[in-house]
């Protein structure tokens, strides 16, 4: 099928033989070309994933030499730990609150950026900075901006006249403010990606549909709610799903800003996994903490598959 259309004239037996040989070769060639990549991914994604499940069912530590199956003991131990509840709650809170804000802001920003104006490329580059710059380095910028003494945000608030001269919120030192700061930084980080995804969706809505709606007398808001948003739904889903994955599995923002503090009030599942599994050498506990993310990632993967199938049909 890939060797070109069969010529209309009858073909000789010798030629059929050659073509079938070629086809066989192509299959073999196809397998040979893909095998290295598949083996690599299996060895370094598949194998560790199996190990992660095995570890979580054992009492393995960094130093241990033998594998000791203990069933669901580790999970029981974790669930009864008070830190687990906080970590799970924070993971869900940070992820869903920040993504809800991101999707609203991204929609607004995308509608603003869909227009053309002078200097748009430069402005877009600035808006994209939080996503395209290495995240850990950008977050250090935030760490310094939220400094308890030299914060330029505090200076601005103090001199805005709205607050007293002694207004010095400890952005990272008080549990509530620390959570607020972390969500803000998550929004800052993911907004550009969601905006660009939605922007790509906006520009792909066929103009004739919009024209037809206009001829029918649909106003801006009717147009927005009856055409733009429904047509954008799959693409907004993609933006949200990636936002969820990036935010739920992020550890950088927590590790750089608060290290889980103050008093472990901003720990999330992944940071718990790191401190348990690597810092405290309890590989089994760490693996179990990390695996609580697995159902979430699996759900996202299934959603992505459905979107992909829809894209395949159209």
């Amino acid at each position: 099928m890939t060797t070109g259309n069969a010529p209309p004239r009858p073909v000789g037996a010798e030629k059929v033989g050659r073509i079938s040989l070629l086809l066989d070769n192509e299959k073999l060639l196809g397998i040979l070309m893909i095998a290295p990549a598949v083996l690599y991914v299996l060895a370094l994604v598949g194998y560790p994933l199996v190990l992660a499940f095995m570890y979580s069912l054992s009492d393995i530590t960094i130093g241990s030499v033998s594998y000791n199956f203990v069933g669901l003991e580790k999970f029981k131990e974790i669930i009864s730990d008070s830190g687990f509840k906080i970590a799970l709650k924070n993971t869900l809170l940070f992820t869903f609150v920040s993504q809800a804000i991101v999707i609203v802001l991204a929609k607004i920003l995308a509608l603003l950026l869909v227009k053309n104006f002078k200097g748009k490329f430069f402005l877009r580059a600035l808006i994209l900075m939080p996503y395209v710059a290495p995240i850990s380095l950008g977050v250090i910028g935030w760490l310094w901006m939220l400094d308890s003494i030299y914060s330029p945000i505090n200076w601005f608030l103090q001199h805005s006249g709205l607050f007293g001269k002694d207004f010095r919120p400890m952005w990272l030192g008080k549990p509530f403010l620390a959570m607020f700061s972390i969500i803000t930084v998550h929004v800052w980080r993911m907004l550009p990606l969601a905006t660009v995804i939605i922007l790509a969706g906006l520009t792909s809505i066929p103009q004739d549909i919009q024209d037809a709606a206009q001829v029918d007398g649909a106003g801006y808001f009717r147009n927005l709610f009856l055409i733009t948003i429904p047509m954008m739904l799959p693409i907004m889903m993609v933006a949200i799903l990636f936002g969820i994955v990036y935010t739920a599995s992020d550890i950088i923002i927590i590790l750089v800003l608060t290290r889980g503090g103050p008093y472990d009030s901003t720990q999330v599942l992944v940071s718990k996994a790191f401190y348990t599994g690597i810092d405290a050498s309890d590989l089994a506990g760490g693996a179990a903490y990390a695996l609580f993310l697995f159902p979430l990632l699996l759900a996202v993967a299934i959603f992505m598959l459905r979107i992909a199938r829809r894209a395949e049909v159209t």
């Binding site: 893909i34 990549a37 850990s136 250090i140 030299y150 995804i197 993609v238 550890i251």
Partner: protein, 285 residues
């Protein structure tokens, strides 16, 4: 009478439009602006709460940058990152180019499915795997070595690379290879002589993404590497400069800015292709 009013309305609308856009831009770029200011500020100016932090109350200085390059391992980290980046790019290209071609041209409908499956592994990657990976790396005898990063990083650059390049190969007309094959080339010959040369933009995209993913990577590096001299830049700066003994905000901000800018600029130019890949072809980028 109505004309000036209408004009006023247009101006007000424009003001609101660019005002909102301005607030968004400020929100996005403020940490980087603050980095830029801090890098060139003298310490007495920086650490005086009475001073306006947004302007230079004293003359700008290069002391912090000098310190960054002379007294910290920053340059070493940059070189480490470059080295790991180049090696991972090479491994990724070797694995990705034939695999993507095979999935698009030689495996039929199954190839498409397998491609999506490989792409989905990109979602799972580091956060679930870093704990067992620590053991795998230790068993390979690679802990605390840059080689651990070279070996492990392709596990997330390859899936995304295959997916991006598949989209690219699909857009190449089949006739091209078929013509070459009728001219007596084998399938492999047609691929190498016809497809590869016109795929340069797609391959370049893979190079850029692989490299930026390497620079951004954090959790594996933090897990595998323990000695300061083997860090990459995005782990070295936050681990060693922030949580080490020396708090030098000027040097640190300089480091963040210098390491961020090249990656950000490169990424920026190729972002639309990246989005096309992420959206699984639901949007033509």
């Amino acid at each position: 009478m109505r004309n000036p009013l209408a004009r006023l309305k247009i101006i007000a609308k424009k003001l609101a439009y660019f005002g909102t856009l301005g607030v968004f831009t400020l929100f996005a770029s403020l940490p980087f602006i603050w980095m830029l200011i801090t890098t060139f500020k003298q310490n007495p100016d920086l650490y005086n709460t009475a001073n306006n932090p947004y302007i230079f109350n004293m003359a700008p200085t290069l002391t912090h940058l000098r310190e960054l390059f002379m007294q910290t391992l920053f340059l070493r980290w940059m070189l480490n990152t470059l080295l790991v980046g180049v090696l991972v790019v090479i491994i990724t290209l070797i694995l990705v180019i034939p695999a993507a071609y095979s999935l698009v041209r030689l495996s039929g409908r199954l190839g498409e499915r397998l491609g999506i499956g490989i792409f989905l592994t990109y979602l799972v990657a580091p956060t679930i795997l870093f704990i067992p990976m620590a053991r795998v790396v230790a068993n390979l005898g690679l802990q605390d070595s840059l080689w651990s990063l070279v070996v492990v990083f392709p596990s997330f650059t390859v899936p995304f690379g295959i997916w991006l390049l598949m989209g690219f190969f699909k857009s190449i007309p089949r006739d091209l290879e078929e013509a070459a094959m009728i001219d007596g080339n084998s399938r492999l010959g047609a691929f190498i002589r016809m497809v590869l040369p016109i795929s340069t933009p797609g391959i370049l995209t893979i190079v850029i993404f692989t490299f930026t993913l390497v620079v951004q990577e954090f959790i594996y590096t933090l897990t595998f590497i323990t000695s300061a001299k083997s860090y990459t830049v995005s782990v070295g700066v936050p681990t060693f400069l922030v949580h080490g003994d020396v708090y030098n905000w000027g040097a640190m901000m300089g480091g963040c800015l210098i390491a961020s800018l090249p990656v950000a600029i490169l990424y920026n130019f190729f972002l639309d292709r990246f989005i096309g890949g992420l959206t699984l072809g639901a949007v033509k980028g």
